[in-house]
């Protein structure tokens, strides 16, 4: 299935703002992050200081993705 993936802040500088990836049905957010970390090893070091969202809602790493989902990987937020 096709999944849209967004990166922000320092993650964007490492991976790019937006990607579209083909995932196996039943893949989790953790698996999706793994895919990018394999391509960009530096990304793995951010794993513990990143949260994920699915369709604009914060989502745990174990979330199983559905076709058409929009996933984002978000570093610590610093608005205000």
């Amino acid at each position: 299935m096709q999944t849209r993936v967004l990166f922000f802040g320092k993650l964007k500088e490492l991976v790019g703002a937006e990607q579209s990836v083909e995932l196996r049905s039943g893949a989790t957010i953790a698996e999706l992050f793994e895919r990018f970390a394999n391509q960009k090893p530096e990304l793995a070091s951010f794993r513990s200081s990143v949260v994920a969202s699915r369709n604009q809602e914060f989502a745990p790493w174990t979330t199983v993705l559905e076709p058409g989902d929009e996933v984002a990987f978000l570093p610590p937020v610093s608005g205000g």
Binding site: G9, L74, P75, P76, V77, S78, G79, G80
Partner: protein, 158 residues
């Protein structure tokens, strides 16, 4: 610009924030108090001289989270109106990055709700600040938003 069911105003803007418009929006005839928070760009960060800032956002999600904050204020506090605006792009020293205005019949609720709004915004709204110094730029330290626990169905069997 987005209006919530309570007629609250929630905005992400690239031009200077129009504080007057936001305050005017929240003031109603039965309000005795309006408390506003104006967050502005400081000239230094941890002792290093700041030249300017850049803010970026996951805009669709940031607006959703800001609306959630506004809506939650009506549940938590006896208030009337809320306006929350955050600016994006390049900001100079002294410019307003975030502006929150809350009206209420009485001042206690207005103070508490305004404080709660900015505290929550800084923890949960996907916006990022990059600080530009004379010798380079860094993404500001931030807070990792709380993520809901995995649903039982998603957990491995124990």
């Amino acid at each position: 610009m987005t209006l919530t069911p309570h007629d609250d105003l929630v905005l992400l803007v690239r031009d200077p924030i129009a504080a007057d418009t936001l305050i005017h929006h929240v003031r109603q005839a039965d309000d005795g108090a309006v408390v506003t928070f104006d967050g502005c760009v400081r000239n230094q960060s941890h002792g290093r001289k700041t030249l300017y800032l850049e803010y970026e956002a996951y805009e669709s999600m940031a607006l959703e989270k800001m609306k959630e904050i506004a809506t939650s204020l009506h549940t938590l506090f006896a208030i009337d109106g809320v306006a929350i605006a955050h600016r994006l792009g390049r900001l100079e020293i002294g410019e307003t990055s975030v502006f929150i205005s809350v009206s209420a019949p009485h001042r206690k609720a207005a103070f508490e709700a305004c404080r709660h709004a900015i505290d929550t915004l800084k923890k949960t709204v996907p916006i990022w600040k990059k600080e530009y110094f004379e010798d380079g730029a860094v993404w500001a330290d931030g807070e990792l938003p709380p993520v809901p626990a995995a649903t039982p169905a998603a957990k491995p069997a124990s």
